[in-house]
């Protein structure tokens, strides 16, 4: 609780009364104080007064609360968020109780008179930053609701900001000397890209994939360990070296995908990291059978057939699935997979594994493999949502205080605790919070233009329904696959047909967010 970072955080957020004496104040309160000083000065009618006031104005910006103590002992200026008078903030968030747990509760504890009200979330009940409802519903809600803080998909930030519906945050940041330097670089660059240099919202967390590996299995079999930034080709070749290895009579796999064994799922997951697309940018041509897909599917089919990729069919789950049963199903967590490609939430599975499966292996993690055609940038990186302040917010200053609090290291520590080490806060938590191995997600570099482009494509209702159709088909066509029977070209033809049908079914006028065709 006592570190440089926490001290930094305290200078950003209000201190409770009684714990130090002064809190942060906004321009408004500074201006009020200045007015008061001006009135006094006039009463005294002294020529020098104006000059002194000018100095005080300058000083007020620097000293703020200290000045209050010095010059107006009895007339403390009103802070943005009163300790006793109710400040109501209207929130538009996908789930109200999640909002309370994540942000509302700690903020109210810091500001006891804050109360929250809620505006309807576009496509409520369908998930976080749901984009299948399209940008128009968000636009409507930003115009019609009384929201002071809204959760929106990354893909819509540029347009909503261009429409003047979101408050730029730069002026506030400058005033409060809040910089984004301590943020995860990939998030910072992507948000700046989305706002054309300006920030129109903050992203408290991000998500990514990585390659987890069992160091014991690598040592025992004399295979060199994977490294940061290796290509998918290198990763697959490493996995193939485990072909035929057994442990206690059971096969050891070179590569697995958590507890899942479905080749369709695997193809789509790796495809994301290689930026493979199922349609072109103009959404008039399906690309589900492009060369990149063919190479990927072929390699996966080889791995399944030769047994260096986990090829045990998914069991038929009936009714509810117990999390522990899923963990028991996972070869990596049973010490029988050398590598597993999974998202950051897999950190939670690894944390639960010792109790669930007796997993005790020495494991490590490297950045997700990349497409060999590209530079170091990774493809599977996501900013699940943005928190922004609507331009017409009636309590924008108070909303800013909340937004500022959300981006503090102590709040990051809360994310890590609440999600059992599986979330990736944009603002790094204090050293020692969480598992140091999660640093792998912070090391990965991204191409912000690419990330934004992917987000926009995925947020397009036409593309998302096309992707869903292809995923479902790929999953169904590979779920009962016996070893080596997959006719890859035939499958890709089917997937291409599905994708084409989805494109033909798109509504007149299209749902494409950008509409522009890129070569």
């Amino acid at each position: 609780m006592k570190s440089e970072r926490d001290r930094w955080q305290r200078t950003l957020s209000d201190l409770p009364l009684g714990s130090g004496g002064f809190g942060s104040h906004t321009m408004k309160s500074v201006k009020e104080r200045i007015k008061m000083l001006e009135r006094r000065a006039r009463r005294r009618r002294r020529a020098a007064a104006t000059a002194i006031v000018a100095l005080l104005i300058a000083g007020a910006v620097v000293f703020r609360g200290d000045l209050t103590n010095l010059l107006t002992p009895k007339e403390t200026a009103k802070p943005v968020i009163s300790e006793t008078e109710t400040t109501t903030l209207n929130i538009m968030f996908w789930d109200n109780s999640t909002f309370m747990t994540m942000y509302g509760q700690p903020f109210i504890i810091r500001h006891p008179a804050v109360r929250f009200e809620y505006s309807a979330y576009p496509g409520a009940g369908t998930g976080v930053a749901n984009s299948s409802v399209g940008i128009d519903r968000y636009r409507e809600q930003l115009q019609q609701s009384h929201a002071d803080l809204v959760q929106i998909p990354l893909a819509y930030v540029s347009e909503l900001a261009a429409d003047g519906l979101l408050k730029p945050l730069g002026a506030w940041m400058k005033r409060d000397k809040l910089t984004d330097e301590s943020w995860n670089t990939a998030v910072r660059e992507t948000l700046r890209e989305a706002g054309g240099g300006e920030l129109y919202g903050f992203a408290p967390e991000f998500a990514g994939y990585a390659l987890y590996y069992n160091r014991d299995l690598f040592r025992e079999n004399g295979v060199p360990e994977p490294t940061d930034g290796m290509t998918w080709e290198e990763a697959m070749n490493t996995a193939a070296r485990f072909q035929g290895i057994k442990k206690e009579g059971k096969p050891v796999y070179g590569l697995s995908f958590g507890y899942s064994t479905n080749m369709g799922f695997e193809a789509m997951t790796i495809g994301d990291s290689q930026n493979l697309r199922l349609a072109n940018a103009g959404l008039d041509q399906a690309t589900a059978n492009a060369k990149g897909w063919l190479d990927l599917w072929t390699k996966l089919a080889d791995g399944h057939r030769e047994g260096w990729i986990n090829n045990v069919p998914d069991p038929e789950w009936e009714g509810g699935i117990d999390v522990n049963d899923l963990l028991k199903q996972d070869p990596f967590l049973n010490g029988r997979a050398a590598m597993t490609y999974a998202g950051n939430s897999y950190m939670q599975n690894l944390k639960d594994a010792p109790a669930a499966t007796g997993f005790e292996a020495d494991w490590a993690v490297v950045t997700q493999p990349r497409d060999k055609e590209r530079d170091q940038a990774i493809g599977a990186f996501e900013i699940p949502y943005i928190l922004a302040i609507p331009a017409k917010s009636a309590s924008a200053d108070a909303a800013w205080e909340l937004l500022k609090y959300i981006m503090t290291p102590s709040q990051s520590e809360r994310y890590i605790r609440l999600t059992r080490n599986s979330s990736l806060p944009t603002v790094a938590a204090n050293d020692g919070a969480g598992d140091s191995r999660s640093a792998v997600f912070y090391r990965a570099s991204v191409d912000p233009v690419q990330i934004l482009d992917t987000a926009k494509r995925n947020s397009d209702p036409v593309y998302s329904s096309l992707a869903a159709a292809v995923r479902t088909e790929a999953y169904n066509r590979t779920k009962d696959l016996a070893d080596g029977t997959l006719d890859v070209p035939a499958l890709l033809k089917e997937l291409q047909t599905k994708a084409e049908q989805a494109l033909q079914a798109k509504p007149a006028g299209g749902g494409s967010a950008s509409g522009e065709e890129t070569p």
């Binding site: 006592k2 002194i52 100095l55 103590n69 509302g104 500001h111």
Partner: protein, 448 residues
């Protein structure tokens, strides 16, 4: 030029003063506090945010007392070892752990801390809670941020239909059982409707014990090893309970919560239940309902109902930073915390702040804050045995047996009441003898 020099001096002065102010309380030498409590998850959910907010400069160490999803029950030996090893300054414990610590004299008396505090506890904390915590001894060894209290809830639709009046604020057990009896005897009553539903009631003895609790009567004295059932007070209550069963207010087949909460389902005219039912009814009840204070002690209209506190803050005798522990406890008692909790969704009970109903802007909550409790942390509370060993269980069976024979017309209620004291004394002798034997054999085991 002179002017400029003056301004520069003023600027310097401002900087200096600013520096002084900044170097004030928020930058004092670091304070440390070791908190022992619950599991990580519970600590994160209920306490951590408060402690981090209240004491941002402190170096706070948390020591879990139980693992996630499992409850660790401490006996004297493990508790002593825990204290020696972890040396906590502040403990957040349940009432069983509190009694364990208290009986081993491992806790600090808080009266001195409370007396020296600038804001008096009585100005912050609701009087009923303070009385509950002080208990028989009158001394304060624990405080807590939350409590539970019960109320009398009634179904207005059922009472209106049958023309039975709503209960008044200072209703006693006699009147309540009378009203419930009128519901049961009314031929217009739906056959699934109960007069009075008490969730934990499974036998006549459960009712007798609850009624006697309201009246402050104990049937045995653990210290002296005597049975105290033979009194006019007990005779009145025994006959009250027997007559309630005779009139069909309850039947011997009362099934507690086996069929769910009858009141919540709209199938009971009255219920005595805890505060948690209130928000529940507000959200889900499909019938008209009201609530008032539970039955009051005879002749003491302001004393009614029970309090429970599951999370007690105590300072161990050996705490190295007792002052910080008291500061943390005071913070949890403050109006600031009460105000914050009025805005939160989930809490582990009602905040103890006396102004909470006003902070929450819900005057209906006063029902839980105004009465003085009939029980205390050390007397007549949940889980407190009145006799030694197995006495309490055998006494309950004895009383139920006699009530059963009265209802079967095999015994008059006079005869039954008279028979209980001597039979209970024999049970007491037996329990005492068994306890002595156990102590002796334990001593021998330890000595061998």
């Amino acid at each position: 030029m002179k002017k400029l020099a003056a301004l520069a001096a003023l600027a310097l002065l401002l900087t200096a003063v600013g520096g002084c102010v900044k170097g004030g309380p928020s930058h004092e030498a670091s304070k440390t506090l070791t908190v022992a409590c619950c599991s990580d998850y519970i600590y994160d959910l209920w306490y951590r945010d408060f402690i981090e907010t209240g004491f941002p400069d402190w170096d706070v160490k948390f020591v879990p007392m139980s693992q996630e999803n499992s409850y660790t029950s401490y006996d004297q030996a493990t508790m002593s070892a825990f204290l020696d090893h972890e040396k906590p300054d502040l403990m957040i414990v349940d009432s069983a752990q509190y009694r364990l610590l208290r009986s081993a004299d491992k806790l600090q008396n808080m009266d001195g801390w409370a007396a020296s505090s600038k804001t008096k506890l009585t100005e912050l904390v609701t009087p009923g809670v303070l009385e509950y915590l002080r208990g028989e001894s009158g001394s304060l060894y624990a405080l807590g941020p939350s409590f539970h209290a019960n109320a009398l809830y009634y179904n207005k639709d059922i009472l209106d239909q049958l023309g039975v009046p709503y209960p008044s604020e200072s209703i006693g057990w006699e009147q309540l059982l009378e009203l419930a009896g009128r519901v049961m005897q009314d031929p217009r009553r739906d056959k699934d409707t109960a007069g009075l539903f008490i969730p934990q009631l499974r036998s006549p003895f459960d009712l007798l014990r609850q009624v006697a609790g309201t009246e402050g009567l104990a049937y045995a004295n653990l210290q002296s090893g005597t049975v105290t059932f033979d009194s006019p007070g007990w005779e009145r209550l025994f006959k009250l309970v027997v007559s309630a069963y005779e009139r069909g207010v309850f039947t011997m087949e009362s099934a507690g919560m086996d069929n769910g909460n009858l009141f919540q389902q709209g199938h009971a005219a009255f219920t005595i239940d805890y505060d948690s039912l209130y928000p529940n009814l507000r959200e889900t009840a499909k019938f008209g309902w009201g609530m008032t204070a539970p039955p009051a002690r005879s002749g003491e209209p302001g004393r009614a109902g029970e309090i429970q506190m599951f999370n007690l803050f105590a300072i161990p005798a050996g705490a190295g930073h007792a002052e910080q522990a008291w500061e943390a406890i005071s913070y949890f008692m403050s109006e600031r915390v009460g105000r914050a909790r009025a805005g939160l969704l989930n809490a582990d009970g009602l905040p103890v702040q006396r102004d909470y109903p006003a902070l929450k802007q819900d005057s209906a909550l006063k029902i839980f804050y105004e009465p003085l409790p009939t029980n205390s942390l050390d007397k007549l509370g949940y889980g407190i045995n009145q006799g030694p060993g197995d006495f309490d269980a055998s006494f309950a069976e004895l009383v139920n047996g006699h009530i059963r024979s009265v209802l079967a017309d095999k015994e008059t209620s006079d005869a039954a009441f008279k028979a209980i004291q001597p039979e209970a004394e024999r049970l007491m002798q037996k329990a005492l003898a068994e306890q002595k034997a156990t102590t002796r054999s334990n001593a021998e085991t330890a000595g061998s």
